[in-house]
Subunit: 340 residues, 2 copies
Amino acid sequence: MRHQVTIKDIAKQLNVSVATVSRALRDLPDIHPDTKKAVLDLAAEWDYQPNVLATSLVKSKTKTLGVIVPDLGYYFFSTVVKAIEEAAIAAGYSLLITQTQESYERELTNIQNLSRGQVEGIIISLSRETMNLDHLTRLQRRGIPLVFFDRDSDEIVASKVMVDNEQSAYEAVKHLLDSGCKRIAFLAGPKSVSVSNQRRLGYLRALSEAGIEEDPALIIHSDYFQDTATQQTHDLMQLSQKPDGILVVSDRLALGVLVALRELKISVPEQVKIVSFNNEPICSVVSPSISSVAQPLEEIGRLAIELLIDQIEHKGEDIPARVEVLKTNLVVRESSSNKG
Amino acid sequence: MRHQVTIKDIAKQLNVSVATVSRALRDLPDIHPDTKKAVLDLAAEWDYQPNVLATSLVKSKTKTLGVIVPDLGYYFFSTVVKAIEEAAIAAGYSLLITQTQESYERELTNIQNLSRGQVEGIIISLSRETMNLDHLTRLQRRGIPLVFFDRDSDEIVASKVMVDNEQSAYEAVKHLLDSGCKRIAFLAGPKSVSVSNQRRLGYLRALSEAGIEEDPALIIHSDYFQDTATQQTHDLMQLSQKPDGILVVSDRLALGVLVALRELKISVPEQVKIVSFNNEPICSVVSPSISSVAQPLEEIGRLAIELLIDQIEHKGEDIPARVEVLKTNLVVRESSSNKG
DNA sequence: GTGAAAGCGCTAACAG
DNA sequence: CTGTTAGCGCTTTCAC
């Protein structure tokens, strides 16, 4: 057969109405066992597949959710997406996964595509470039539920799944101080990324509590490229007052830092201690292994779906936005251990 | 407004027919400039978004392609998917990305979901568990174009984008032999994975050319888990005749091998040399850095889209399946260098 | 230039 | 238990 089999084809063949076929297929009551069997058999024989477009159109429900992340190449995002997918499937939803590649333009078009009736709600982590949130408020005005995770914005009221970045950074810096560091640098992300800024606050709080004055020369904003981190570490180590500890905003960048220190023959952790974020598997593989702040990735994904479905199923009821803040967990390894 | 704006709403407001609105929106000729302007203005004001479900249904075209990969957590897949996405967008298609998490069940349901009218074609890399290909031949019978990459099967005739795994492994082993190895082991993937089996053939060819007899004790099938690789390396090193070179089917497993050798205080590359596959970024970061076979990831993605769209646009013309086999590139690093 | 009508594949009353 | 009818939002003839 040239075209996809439809219920019409089955109805014609069996000399019944399409309504009857539809009922049989959906296992509704009020249908004669024999008719039902005939329909099911023929459907199987012809490999009938219901057209979800048609069903979605008439029900105005797609049972599909959208996910927008900056880059699936990051361990953090691919792992959270995996958890989101598990939870979505468990709840009877399918997933449309898209990436922005950190581009605001791509975020716009992704949002637009998804919102043209394809999904019932969207989970998003903002692109690095995103400053303007009009595309998202427009979404909300049209009644499409939205949940943020990781990279959010204060300018929008919505449900969010976050970790306590401020506190995590505070604890990481405190750990460095406890390990004997006196002068701690912060290799941050781009100025526009909320996560990075929240961590900066925790970094500053820990310093101030320890009576250490903030030194702007020790806060460096990176572009998230490993090579840049290497370069910037070289710069840091040229300061007259070199740091003896570095808090790094991500494991990827920490790798770049390690490369630079190796080049400079500065030993880790003896001369410089390092703590970074994400706790990617790579942390335990490199030498020295990297101390890193672990995020509850599965829980983030699970909660994001929970908050989203919550909104979808209570649509129109105008329920308040829920913001969940999760705890992190510092995993200490060689890069910040106290060998001396 | 409570519901999404439709062309009907706009038509009513403007006292024109839905056909006129539809024409204006799609920039068709035969429409008065004033009418058109009025429609466009109102559409913008009301933030009208066309319902793609409806459009797709009537046109029986979704302009969407499906991608099914085992796991986006692998660098290989996330990078190829990124390339696929670029190419798809450039060609005017959207992408539906799904993962099987290496489960045959999930592959079935993913195929089924996508084939219920959502996509015009599918790009797939098989799950580790997939032995039976009925779900895919059924797809083809229903006229849905299919393109394989990386993990394929000989049991199905379809367009494919592959790399020359046999030759790559052959060259990698030859490199090990040239570097002085006399006894080379192969840490393979699961027996069911085509890629791994193809590499085994190249491994054997290189050995036989060098006049070395195959030793079954040196071919180990792993489950793709790093920890297992560590364990299996320990086993290998307990043989009375230890290997002095190991070809490893993936970088992840090579990390596991390195861990074992470190534990055993066997130095790399002095006592054992290692070459693996994929050339993940991690290869150049660990110490010793890992020699690895690089695949042309961008080209794989680009070609997969090309082959798929080729089939879609010539549907019904019964064009023959195209199989593209790409070359790889061995990147030599410390793990196989000739220090002595 | 514009409108009326049919239809994409399916579901959902409502009769019978 | 089954069929008829209307309609989801949009496109596409075919008239006027």
